[in-house]
């Protein structure tokens, strides 16, 4: 029996998304499964954004908090450090301080932080709220205005607040993260609602909700694979935006990234374990279809980039 490579070509294609103004980055755009350049075109590598926040990262575990000691008390310094020292290709600013249970910072406070960060760096910026449905609907429109002209990604819009946030992204020419909770149908529905209000599907980034390795990774992994197959094989247009893996936030709160080695000797080095946990969550989700990743630890980013190099 002669062997013939069982190649598969698909009718659909992932939307390429370009962000940033002075410096731009593009991700998505492939017409094949993740990294399947042997049977299709994969024009862009996944983009990794370094996560920073408006308030000091007191709840980040030591392994990753200490990396930013001396800069994380000020988002502007922190952003500069990522761009200059870590050579970040993109930065994701999370406005956790606006959450009512955190510092309950106002939309104006947030706008000041965003302006400061945008003035300090040139790489493309992702601006996210605190994941509080009502507060995000208040804060994100204000910061979207401040960031006008910078072609940012704003998020996250969810079913309960998408109208206000999408309108603000549209009015100020930004891209938008559309998040739903681990369900391909909910994800599709939100994208449909967005396009129905006139928001271009070419400006959406789908966030099917991340999970960390060992804490539901398989759910995110399979939802991503299903979304990607719908985009490619069924050529379903609303499923064609690129996908986000919001990795750092989910990884650096679980036990495996916090439990010290003297308490759990069978788990080995805490430092290496935490960094690998973040990198492996990221690489697995990339294999399922994520093209945009938000991460925290520079070494995890470095290993993930190397993995991308080997696959591209």
């Amino acid at each position: 029996m002669a062997f013939a490579e069982p190649k598969e070509a698909f009718p659909g294609q992932v939307v390429p998304v370009t962000i940033g103004s002075e410096i731009q980055e593009t991700f998505g755009g492939e017409n094949t499964l993740p990294f399947h350049k042997f049977e299709g075109s994969v024009p862009n590598r996944p983009l990794i954004a370094y996560e920073i926040q408006d308030v000091p990262p007191e709840d980040w575990p030591e392994t990753v908090r200490k990396v930013y000691e001396g800069v994380s008390d000020d988002p502007v310094k922190w952003a500069r450090y990522c761009e200059d020292e870590l050579k970040a290709r993109s930065i994701a600013l999370r406005l956790v301080g606006t959450h009512p249970d955190s510092k309950n910072l106002s939309a104006d406070d947030a706008a000041t932080v965003v302006k400061g960060v945008l003035d300090a760096v040139k790489v493309p910026i992702i601006i996210m709220g605190s994941n509080h449905v009502e507060k995000d609907a208040e804060v994100l429109p204000r910061v979207a205005e401040v960031a006008k002209g910078r072609n940012c990604i704003i998020g996250k819009a969810q079913e309960k607040n998408y109208k206000t946030i999408a309108a603000a992204a549209m009015a100020n020419d930004h891209k938008l993260i559309a998040m739903s909770e681990l369900d391909i149908n909910l994800s599709k529905q939100l994208n449909i609602l967005l396009t129905q209000m006139g928001f271009s599907r070419e400006k959406i980034i789908t966030d099917p909700m991340c999970s960390a390795l060992g804490y539901g990774l398989e759910y995110t992994y399979s939802v991503m694979e299903r979304i990607r197959l719908a985009a490619l094989a069924q050529n379903d247009e609303v499923m064609q935006p690129p996908m986000l893996g919001d990795v750092g936030m989910y990884v650096w709160k679980i036990k495996e990234t916090q439990a010290p080695e003297d308490v759990l000797p069978e788990w080995g080095s805490l430092e290496e374990r935490g960094i690998l946990w973040e990198a492996m969550t990221a690489t697995s989700l990339m294999l399922a279809g994520a093209e945009l990743l938000i991460m925290r630890h520079p070494r995890a980013v470095e290993y993930t980039e190397r993995f991308i190099d080997e696959l591209m």
Binding site: E5, E8, S222, E225, E256, R273, S284, Y303
Partner: protein
């Protein structure tokens, strides 16, 4: 390719004698096509039909067992390309490479890594499954003494012997004879001799090819020499080659029923840095490897890889559940808080993780809601006031704690009245909606 019911029917005796337990041959054929019946049930089927049907019904990826005893690893038998379609069947083996050029101390330390690698994670015992003994020196004697050392010190671990030299293979394989070892290093050039040695030691044939076409030709050759238990190395070493070859092999076997590639796959992922090696090993786990050969087995690296393998090989159709009971987190005392949630494993992991983060010792009551999350279980009527009350009463927790306060998830605040009504003398406190607010909540509570 799997045959249709009608195609199978044409091969049956067509006498409708009912001996198979079905009213007609056609009915039996339909069941066979759905793999809900076995051909043995028909006593009158011809030898020829048996042969055709047997070949058509053999699993597209051959089942092979590596090693013996409790720790033997089953491989092959996969049926899908994507895990949401159907459960991935046999989790890959992780194999640590030991070279015959390494000094005794290194060998012993690696052996120790393998022997102490076992970890219990959510009820499953996970470990480094095997050792690959590599004939780096090219010297048959060196390989043999390494093999003997390993057979003596790690008698239960599955072993793969890696050499292209038949003399070295013969000596090194002997200590593992009959223990389902793998003889890896079978090439076009040495196949005749190597297959003889493998057969003599009841070993699995590990073929070493350059490219998929060569791999297919070589498996056919080995099969022709009388050995059908084969594992394939297509020569893929970089991440992109591994993705390409593994994908093509899985597709060829499943979608084209291309028998020459219908065998489990070995990936060699050795890299200089353990952290980076782990990522390439992870590619093997996600993308169809049955054996992943690595150069190190640090505990932190094992934990991440075992966890990934467990995640990828979880049954997507069965919601993961944890056992219904009152879990102790930290070392709770009779005054420690009591929280309740459902037994969806993800919910349990997240809630117990956050309680742990709070550093406040507590009791976590996990109630059987058929693996549904809090809101879904509530909506489905499985997480109701009276059911919660019954569970708390029957759990015996009342004998362990002094207080009578139950903390419920914020999403089901609406249940507090109903629970207090059914659970006399108890006070219900509404906790946060999201688990990540639990540490602050609990710390404030005991402050």
């Amino acid at each position: 390719m799997a045959l249709t019911g009608v195609e199978i029917f044409k091969l049956l005796p067509k006498t409708n004698c009912k001996k198979c337990g079905f009213p007609t041959c056609l009915a039996f054929a339909m069941k066979l096509a759905q793999r809900q019946a076995s051909l043995d049930a028909c006593p009158d089927v011809s030898e020829e039909a048996k042969k055709i049907l047997g070949e058509a019904s053999a699993p597209p990826i051959r089942p092979i067992t590596f090693g013996t005893g409790d720790k033997a690893v089953k491989m092959g038998e996969e049926t899908v390309l994507f895990r949401h379609e159907k459960k991935f069947v046999n989790p890959n083996a992780f194999v640590l490479e030991i070279k015959d050029t390494e000094d005794d101390a290194t060998v012993d330390s690696k052996l120790n890594d393998v022997l102490t690698s076992e970890i219990n994670r959510v009820g499953q015992l996970l470990r480094i499954d095997g050792i690959c003994i590599t004939n780096e020196s090219g010297d048959a004697g060196k390989l043999q003494s390494l093999a003997e050392r390993i057979a003596q010190k790690a008698p239960e671990v599955a072993v793969m012997v890696n050499t292209e030299n038949p003399d070295a293979a013969d000596a090194a394989l002997k200590p593992f004879s009959g223990k389902n070892p793998i003889l890896y290093g079978i090439t076009e050039a040495n196949a005749e001799k190597m297959v003889e040695i493998a057969k003599a030691n009841k070993a699995i044939a590990g073929i070493k090819a350059q490219g998929l076409e060569a791999a297919a030709a070589l498996t056919e050759k080995v099969k022709g020499l009388g050995l059908e238990d084969i594992v394939i190395d297509s020569g893929a070493r970089t991440a992109s080659e591994i993705l390409e070859h593994n994908t093509y092999i899985r597709r060829a076997a499943l979608k084209k029923n291309f028998k020459p590639l219908g065998y489990p796959v070995i990936n060699f992922v050795q890299r200089d840095e353990p952290m980076y090696e782990a990522l390439v090993a992870g590619l093997g786990v996600c993308k169809y490897a049955s054996i992943v050969v690595m150069s190190s087995a640090e505990k932190w690296k094992n934990l991440a890889l075992f966890t990934l393998r467990q995640n990828i090989y979880t049954d997507p159709q069965v919601p993961m559940q944890v056992e219904q009971k009152i879990y102790k987190i930290g070392e709770p005392t009779p005054d420690s808080p009591l929280l309740i949630t459902t037994n969806f494993s993800l919910t349990y992991f997240i809630v117990s993780g956050e309680v742990e983060n709070s550093k406040v010792p507590a009791y976590l009551a996990v109630m059987d809601c058929e693996g549904l999350s809090v809101l879904t279980a509530w909506a489905a009527g499985k997480f109701t006031g009276s059911k919660i009350a019954n569970f708390i009463k029957e759990s015996g927790i009342e004998n362990e704690i002094k207080h009578r306060e139950l903390i419920i998830p914020g999403y089901v605040a609406i249940l507090s009245g109903a629970i207090e009504e059914k659970l006399e003398g108890w006070k219900v406190t509404v906790g946060p909606r999201e688990a990540n607010a639990l540490p602050a909540f609990l710390r404030q509570k005991v402050a």
